[in-house]
């Protein structure tokens, strides 16, 4: 799948998930993202860490809303009002709003996740517009250094421990931090020299056209882009009603037109693989 078509799909998912607080629409975006990752994920790349992180973030959002918002008609239980911040009534409405917020976070993560789980990193850099190509390559290279820096920090820490170093006061940390910074600088210089040796910055970049734009990519871009635009039109004309559980919890209002827009995001899954 072409990364640019995937970027349009991700943008469409983000637009829908962020333009509404209605959990019904956010859930459909999330499910479409899950389907895309399940169907087109790169072999050997696990989505579990990302899904786990999204789940934790959603759980934290739900708990925070439940703990800090004491509005709503249906009281589940009460804590003494004397307890700072969290004291008061815990309501079903706050729980529902927290779940909807968590769902929104998960939907946004799943809308962007296919960019890293479906495409190779170099495909994403190649897909950047020409004015952003150098910046993209530099940012990509910098991001690639992060895992290496973490790895070297662990190695240096272990080596220092073997020499008797113990993590205690802040004053002890330079023994680890200074070698880590120097190693990172050395790695950056090596990478810069390697890039220069390969002609980076000499002239406009060339690359193998491994991801040609095909009919399926056009379909994905057009259908998802149109779906997001249509959803926005519906959103501002009242055809995609929002949801707010306060002061009394109610089922999220949905319309068939808005659901259809969200369901259109399943198009990359239905389109046959190249």
């Amino acid at each position: 799948m072409n990364p640019r078509a995937l970027a349009v799909w991700s943008a469409a998912g983000l637009v829908i998930a962020l333009s509404t607080g209605n959990p019904a629409y956010r859930a459909i975006v999330l499910l479409c993202g899950l389907n895309l990752v399940a169907a087109r994920g790169r072999p050997g790349v696990s989505a579990r860490p990302l899904l786990f992180g999204a789940g934790i973030a959603a759980l934290i959002a739900t708990l925070l809303t439940l703990l800090l918002s004491h509005t709503g008609a249906h009281v589940l239980f009460r804590l003494s009002p004397g307890i700072p911040a969290i004291g008061g009534a815990f309501t079903l409405e706050a729980l529902a709003f927290g779940l909807a917020t968590g769902l929104g976070i998960a939907a946004v993560v799943l809308a962007v996740a296919p960019l890293t789980l479906v495409c190779e990193p170099h495909e994403l850099v190649d897909a950047l517009p020409r004015p952003l190509a150098r910046t993209g390559a530099a940012v990509g290279a910098a991001l690639n250094l992060i895992p290496g820096t973490i790895r070297s920090a662990r190695e240096i820490r272990d080596a220092q421990r073997m020499r008797g170093w113990r993590a205690g006061r802040v004053a002890d940390w330079p023994a680890v931090a200074v070698p880590v910074v120097l190693t990172a600088l050395e790695g950056s210089l090596t990478l810069a020299e390697a890039m220069e040796a390969r002609g980076y910055g000499a002239q406009s970049r060339t690359h193998l056209a491994t991801t040609a734009w095909r009919a399926g990519d056009t379909a994905v871009a057009v259908v998802s882009g149109s779906a997001a635009a249509m959803f926005l039109v519906l959103r501002f004309s009242g055809g995609a009603p929002d949801w707010y559980p306060f002061p009394l919890l109610s089922a999220p209002p949905v319309t068939i037109a808005a659901i259809s827009c969200c369901a259109c995001l399943v198009i990359p899954v239905l389109w046959p693989r190249r």
Binding site: A27, C32, G238, G239, V254, T255
Partner: protein, 218 residues
């Protein structure tokens, strides 16, 4: 390139499995939605009229309803009653009933129109028109199909701005004849909600099918 016999136009195994599942589920959902009680569609012959209801609470949250009715007109109080929202009124002779409470706001009251604090302001709108503040109570207001009734919980002192949401779109499908609008009547199930659940169910089944296929054919 020579293509082996029998593979021309062959549909991939993933698509062969996925499309029938999705089609069957969507078809079942559509059939289910079609069999639901018609009053919730706001489009039955018996209840051909519909009035949009917009209620803006003091915290800015907005509740909308599309209320279906039979006959040529409906009173403002009847719209509120058919919406399913809880409400309380007090009678003022000559002006009709004033609304004291909607949707548990305020949670309790001793005076329907207090000298200080907030109260419910009533507005009406004709098809395509803007909100107009009502000069009489809801029992004296008459609405026809396509009209809208609006409420805003607002301080009793100062100006009374209309609800921030336009009534346009609340009865979108009902007015255009498309089934499945944001219509929500006290009785019956919203077919759009059923359709949403069916789509969500189909997507879940699809995701599971993809994972199973992926494990079998990595």
């Amino acid at each position: 390139m020579v293509r082996p016999l029998g593979t021309a136009g062959r549909v991939p195994a993933r698509v062969r499995i996925v499309i029938p599942i999705l089609g069957a589920l969507l078809g079942a959902g559509g059939a289910g939605a079609a069999m639901l009680p018609s009053p919730s569609l706001c489009a039955s012959a018996a209840e051909a009229g519909h009035v949009a209801l917009v209620v803006e609470h003091g915290d800015g949250s907005i509740v909308t309803r599309c209320v279906a009715f039979s006959g040529t007109s409906i009173s403002g109080e009847e719209v509120l009653r058919k919406s399913g929202l809880g409400y309380g009124t007090a009678s003022f002779s000559g002006l009709g009933d004033a609304v004291c409470q909607i949707d548990r706001e305020p949670p309790a009251y001793t005076s329907c129109l207090p000298t200080t604090g907030d109260y419910w302001v009533l507005f009406s709108a004709r098809p395509g028109g803007a909100w107009t503040e009502a000069s009489t109570g809801i029992s004296s207001q008459t609405f026809h199909s396509g009209d809208a009734e609006g409420f805003r919980y607002d301080p009793i002192s100062g100006a009374d701005p209309p609800p921030s949401q336009s009534p346009a779109g609340v009865c979108l499908a009902a007015t255009s004849g498309t089934p499945g609008a944001a219509a929500s009547t006290p009785s019956g199930v919203n077919p759009a909600l059923v359709a949403g659940l069916v789509v969500a169910g189909a997507l879940i089944v699809l995701a599971v099918a993809q994972l199973v296929l992926r494990r079998r054919h990595p």
